[in-house]
């Protein structure tokens, strides 16, 4: 039964095992802690490395190949909040602003989940379009903007204009650190092309998988510390955090096939659609929708969806893609 094997292969990879180790450290109340500056440093490294690699790949492949699936990815990201918002609002009985905030997170993407997926594909020797990073880059912002607009429409009366200005949201969604690093490195990589890659490959590519393993140890710690918040968010959000990714994952894979991506590329688009942002979206939402309760969207994306995708989601979306492409 292929899904089972796919999952098993994933669970025994260093990255996932180190993530589990981090979870255990948090649950056993070990005093193990990564300094915040180490977390930030690793984030910067991963975003710059993946962005640069993707840019070089676009340079190799040519924009002609990239624009269509990229457009599809962008559209998908922008659309997701349109059904997750009403679902949360009326199905989950969430306040409008919270529903909008959560919707923004699930329309946006998680770079680390994407990176873990590329490593998984490498491990199972499944080729994929290296320029897929471009999809990651274009999917991060749109959903955030859509979500903020939805939230504004619902909270248009309340005061404190200085904080609820849409402008801030747009700026944060376009120049926030994670998006800026990713898109910036992508452009740098695109301008340098292969000659530039030859210079920096030993730093940005060769040790990449090991760095990811170390980073996932930290992410396990971070997610583990949030597990107690699961009680606070209620059963609906719990189910939402697992079911929606499965749904969006299939949708993403299907979009990938429609736009002519390979089996690997479609899997990655599925992973992106299924993933929920926990860096870009929280920062932008906190600034532009301060009335939304962070416990909801952070717990959902960080403590539910992220671990689910890392452990089970990725191989599942891959199996789905295999089914679809066979």
């Amino acid at each position: 039964m292929e899904i089972f094997d796919a999952v098993r292969a994933n669970l025994l990879s260093p990255a996932v095992l180190f993530f589990a180790l981090g979870l255990i450290a948090a649950l056993t109340k070990s005093d193990l802690k990564f300094p915040e500056s180490l977390y930030t440093a690793l984030t910067i490294y991963l975003l710059v490395a993946i962005g640069f690699k993707g840019g070089v790949a676009i340079n190799d492949a040519g924009l002609a190949k990239v624009w269509l699936p990229a457009l599809a990815a962008m559209t998908l990201g922008a659309l997701i909040p349109l059904w997750t918002y009403p679902l949360l609002r009326f199905g989950g009985k969430f306040p409008a602003v919270d529903a909008a905030a959560i919707a923004a997170h699930y329309g946006s993407v998680s770079a680390v989940t994407f990176i873990a997926a590329t490593n998984y594909l490498k491990a199972v020797n499944q080729p994929y379009e290296n320029y897929a990073t471009a999809f990651l880059a274009v999917m991060e912002s749109p959903a955030i903007l859509v979500g903020v607009v939805l939230g504004k429409l619902a909270t248009s009366k309340s005061g404190a204009p200085d904080m609820i200005s849409l402008k801030a949201a747009v700026h944060e969604a376009l120049f926030g650190r994670s998006i800026f690093l990713l898109v910036g490195a992508l452009i740098v990589g695109f301008l340098c092309g292969q000659p530039g890659m030859d210079k920096v490959e030993p730093f940005f590519v060769t040790p990449f998988q090991g760095v990811l393993a170390l980073f996932l140890l930290e992410m396990g710690l971070v997610a583990g510390r949030r597990l107690e918040d699961l009680k606070k968010v209620g059963p609906f959000l719990l189910a939402f955090g697992v079911v929606m990714p499965l749904l969006h994952g299939c949708l993403g894979v299907w979009f990938g096939q429609l736009t002519g991506l390979s089996l690997g590329g479609a899997t990655l688009l599925g992973v992106l659609a299924a993933s929920a942002s926990y860096i870009a979206a929280p920062a932008a939402i906190r600034m532009s929708l301060p009335d939304a309760n962070p416990t909801y969207y952070l717990t959902a994306s960080l403590a539910i969806t992220f671990p689910f995708n890392i452990a089970l989601g990725i191989p599942i979306y891959f199996a789905v893609a295999r089914r679809l492409y066979s």
Binding site: K33, F34, E36, Y39, T40, G159, A160, D162, M163, E218, L221, V222, R225, D229, Y278, I279, P282, A283, R286, M287, P290, D291, P294, L298, L302
Partner: protein, 100 residues
Amino acid sequence: MNTHPMKLVTIVCEAHARDAVTKLLRDAGAHGWTLFAVEGDGSQGKRPADIPEFANVQIEVIVKPEVAEHLLERLGTEFFPRYGMIAFESDVRVIRAAKF
């Protein structure tokens, strides 16, 4: 050295509120501020500062009494409903009152 009475307003709030608060300080008429990252625990739960989303900052600002009054006023009405935070004032004596 003759010292001059001033108010020290201390704010501890989540890191994401940082820009909104410092903007408020300027609007309220502060001429400067000091800021640093802190961990914390409170009614909204632990802030272990493991990632920016769960980090706090402590902001210290020295202002004239009337500015402090106005500052706390706005913090209480605009910020407290939205952010996990505390704010308090205390009496200090500065040198070079002109700076504040």
